[in-house]
């Protein structure tokens, strides 16, 4: 059987919440490395071939100015490459610094042996700040997150920038109803997305198709061919009348959607050409529905989080859910004031679950399992049925100055009933 109370700290198993802390800088340095690799490869091929070309033309025609010009452009290209690399190098150093700070932070935990050590308290406070910043970032409260990180001095332990970038894309989908940023993101991460066989890009392209068809129908309806519309999609020309839009939509589908192999979906997509947005015929109506943008935003978030090894829900929720249950007792939502932890007497502290902050949150979580009673030493019962540790009762009555030979109940206080002290009985809790 597990010990009732244990104060030993097992750092190794205590790190369950901290995997993203180390994963994020790792994923970021990989991304950074790939960018560096791409720019070097790209410029190398371009520059070697342009040097070959220059050499060739220099040996054929002796136009020194042309040679010098092309050399100059090569030099400036090289300098551009160097600038880019230096930028990436700076980023790389920043990531490494933060990775090191995070490792040091986790190492601190290994140095603490006991859960009741003050050092553990301190460490746990830092962790809570981290979890709070993580939560704020996920919910899109980036200003608050940056502010908190800065005031706690934990900027190296949290990933404000990465989340700000992520939320920019998410908002462009959810609120802006625009696929541009998201498609750009897909292009940047195309390799990993392919590896994870993600549906994100397909869904985005499908949305573009839906929007084209919608515009086609709408333009056809109003009969205003050539009406200018703006949708900000990349790779798709804007303008044209109803019929041209539908033609464009078909071309778009052929280019981006037909390779998916999902014929059922393709059939439904083709059906859109016949059913207009206001026809309200399923399954086409749900494709036209604006709720699809919310779906896309959610899909983007989950794709992003999987790619960067981030858990699907905020870590704060995970920690709190477990904590609320571990601390909750049947007394926390009881109709009767508990004798052992309440706000009405200074002989006890308020239980965190009973405190205003968490009480309603904890209402739906299960309470902790106990196999043994936990009561104060030497419990006694008052005539009103309340049980107290006899020492606490004595100290309380001394403090409020109850007359000798009498006892008051700490909950009802000095205005409540009092009893002769021989009415207080011993009680046996096994």
């Amino acid at each position: 059987m597990a010990e009732l109370t244990s104060t030993k700290l097992n750092a190794e198993s205590h790190l369950l919440l901290d995997q993203p802390l180390l994963r994020m800088p790792y994923e970021l340095s990989r991304r950074n490395f790939k960018n560096a690799q791409r720019v070097i490869e790209h410029s190398s091929t371009a520059l070697t071939s342009s040097l070959t070309a220059t050499t060739k033309s220099a040996s054929k025609t002796a136009a020194p100015n042309a040679t010098l010009d092309s050399l100059d452009s090569m030099i400036s290209k090289m300098q551009g490459l160097k600038r880019k690399l230096e930028g990436l190098h700076e980023e790389e150093q920043r990531i490494h610094r933060s990775a090191k700070a995070r490792l040091r932070h986790l190492q601190d935990l290994y140095e603490v042996q006991s859960l009741v050590d003050v050092k553990y308290d301190e460490w746990s406070r830092t962790r809570l700040s981290r979890l709070l910043v993580d939560y704020l970032l996920r919910e899109g409260y980036s200003e608050s997150a940056a502010h908190l990180a800065q005031s706690k001095g934990i900027a190296e332990l949290v990933d404000v920038d990465a989340f700000v970038a992520c939320h920019k894309v998410e908002r462009s989908l959810r609120e802006g109803m625009n696929t541009g940023l998201a498609l750009e993101w897909c292009k940047e991460h195309s390799k990993e997305l392919k590896k994870g066989s993600s549906m994100l890009e397909f869904e985005l392209r499908l949305q573009q198709y839906i929007e084209l068809v919608r515009q086609g129908h709408e333009a056809g309806m109003s009969g205003m061919d050539g009406m200018d519309t703006e949708d900000g999609m990349n790779g798709v020309s804007v303008g044209g009348g109803g019929e041209t839009k539908l033609v464009e939509a078909r071309a778009h589908a052929k280019k981006y959607l037909s390779t998916s192999g999902d014929f059922e979906l393709l059939g439904r997509a083709a059906g859109l050409l016949a059913y207009r947005p206001w026809d309200e015929v399923e399954p086409y109506a749900s494709l036209y529905s604006p709720a699809r943008w919310t779906h896309l935003a959610t899909l983007f978030l989950s794709t992003h989080h999987t790619l960067y090894s981030l858990p699907p829900r905020p870590l704060l929720h995970i920690a709190l859910s477990a904590g609320l249950s571990a601390l909750k007792t049947p007394a926390c939502h009881s109709a009767y004031t508990s004798s052992s932890a309440n706000a009405s007497s200074s002989s006890t502290t308020v239980c965190p679950i009973c405190s205003t902050e968490l009480n309603e949150l904890a209402r739906n979580v299960p309470y902790a399992h106990h196999t043994k009673s936990i009561v104060e030493n030497d419990p006694v019962v008052l005539p009103n049925g309340r049980i107290y540790g006899s020492e606490r009762l004595r100290v309380y009555n001394e403090k409020v100055g109850t007359e000798k030979g009498w006892i008051r109940d700490p909950i009802s206080g000095v205005v409540g009933e009092k009893w002769r002290d021989n009415e207080v009985r011993k009680v046996y809790v096994m």
């Binding site: 244990s6 986790l106 190492q107 908190l148 858990p311 709190l320 965190p352 009985r425």
Partner: protein, 418 residues
């Protein structure tokens, strides 16, 4: 842990883009040198360029090759991370019971920030959260959070008045600062005096402790004189303290007669209190911290809040509990069993005793915790069992206590509150 650190140090010292950048610089130098030569003498162009080809290509290749250590390092680092977290999966959405109540969480966070004294962050947050209200997401216990949104929002907004709470906590921090840093008792004493009746009913002796500390300060001679004492400005040290005592301690006579007697007794030793039996009252460095803590606790309790941040305690308890819950999940998955008690966790979580707040009563007969519907009952012999156990044992007639020879009737058993 060490392998990870070594790897990061390797990244910092050598496996980074610095070498590639220097190769690129070398290539630039080659190009500039060639350009200078051609500009000086145009005829050398074909030859110079032909000579340039090879070294230029080589430096660029080297720049690419210098990326290899980074690549290898990243791979190694990734593998070390995998090893580190092999048996520590990312917590899944199943462990999350709170996504359906985002406005309650936001309120808890705002209150946490305020009570930590992070007023700036708190106001940024409250403003930002009002601008972008959160989206609830379904959880196991609340599959459709949108249905209940309205009451929850009312609750979150109705009881949460951030400005008022901020004012209160600002006052608390002001008083604590005065106590801890400035060693000034006046604001605290004033606060306590305004709430004298409530504090007294709670059995708190905060006011007296503050006054006693003030007395001690005056006695040893580094206390600020009270406003009203201005007329007696010349009074110093023990005399000053004595005057203070005569004026203030009268109200405390009944409750703290003994403590006051002790303080008065110390007056006899006013010349050498350091060597007297009363020394511990007067030279006690922790007294200030104790008073500050007890003030903090009383202040929060009067607001119905716990003294330490509940968010902190719950998150810490959660981190301690997670390994047990995760193990439980694995076992349940393996055995394909369901968790049968929806209201109670199926596993005991050993928390340090400072995380126990309420008394717990587990019925020794049924091994279940008592609740409002199944309360603890005390039999005339003083033993306690749960109501349901009592009903089962007695079947409404006289029965023997399971723990002693006494017999009693169930109607003689009384409900008790722990």
């Amino acid at each position: 842990m060490d392998d990870l650190r070594e790897q990061v140090e390797l990244f910092e010292s050598s496996a980074n883009l610095a070498t590639s950048i220097s190769q690129v610089q070398k290539a630039i130098d080659l190009l500039t040198a060639a350009r200078a030569k051609i500009a000086a003498d145009a005829k050398t162009a074909p030859l110079t360029l032909a000579k340039l080809q090879d070294p230029f290509k080589k430096t660029l290749d080297a720049a690419q090759k210098d990326l290899k250590p980074i690549y290898a390092g990243l791979n190694k680092y990734g593998k070390a991370l995998d090893r580190k977290f092999k048996d520590k999966p990312l917590p899944s959405a199943e462990n999350d019971a709170l996504s359906s109540h985002p406005s309650l969480i936001n309120r808890a966070i705002a209150m946490h920030l305020l009570r930590e004294g992070q007023f700036g962050v708190a106001s940024t947050f409250v403003e930002e959260a009002n601008r972008h209200p959160p989206h609830p997401e379904p959880t196991l216990n609340t599959p459709n959070p949108y249905l209940r949104e309205s009451w929850e929002k009312d609750l979150a907004e109705g009881t949460f008045n951030s400005e008022k709470l901020q004012q209160q906590f600002a006052q608390m921090y002001h008083i604590l600062h005065q106590l801890r840093i400035e060693r000034n008792l006046k604001p605290a004493i004033q606060w306590a005096r305004e709430r004298s009746d409530i504090l007294e009913a709670r059995g708190s002796n905060l006011e007296f402790e503050l006054c006693r500390l003030q007395f001690v300060c005056l006695f040893v001679g580094h206390g600020q004189p009270d406003d009203i004492m201005n007329e007696e400005e010349n009074a110093s040290g023990p005399l000053h303290a004595w005057k203070y005592a005569r004026r203030i301690f009268g109200d405390f006579q009944n409750r703290y007669a003994r403590d006051i007697q002790q303080l008065m007794g110390a007056m006899a030793y006013w010349e050498n209190v350091e060597d007297s039996p009363y020394q511990r009252y007067f030279y006690n460095d922790s007294a200030w911290e104790e008073v500050a803590q007890s003030f903090n606790r009383e202040f929060c309790s009067l607001l119905g809040l716990s003294a330490d941040s509940p968010l902190f305690i719950a998150a810490t308890a959660g981190a301690i509990a997670l390994p047990y819950l995760l193990k439980l999940q694995t076992i349940m998955k393996e055995k394909r069993t369901e968790w049968t008690t929806q209201h109670e966790l199926p596993v005991e979580i050993p928390l340090p005793s400072q995380y126990h707040f309420h008394s717990i009563f587990v019925c020794p007969v049924s091994k279940e915790q008592t609740t409002d519907t199944n309360p603890p009952m005390m039999m005339p012999c003083g033993h306690v069992i749960a109501q349901e156990s009592l009903d089962k044992l007695s079947k409404g007639a006289r029965f023997k206590c399971p723990y002693c020879p006494t017999e009693s009737h169930p109607r003689d058993a009384r409900k008790v509150v722990l």
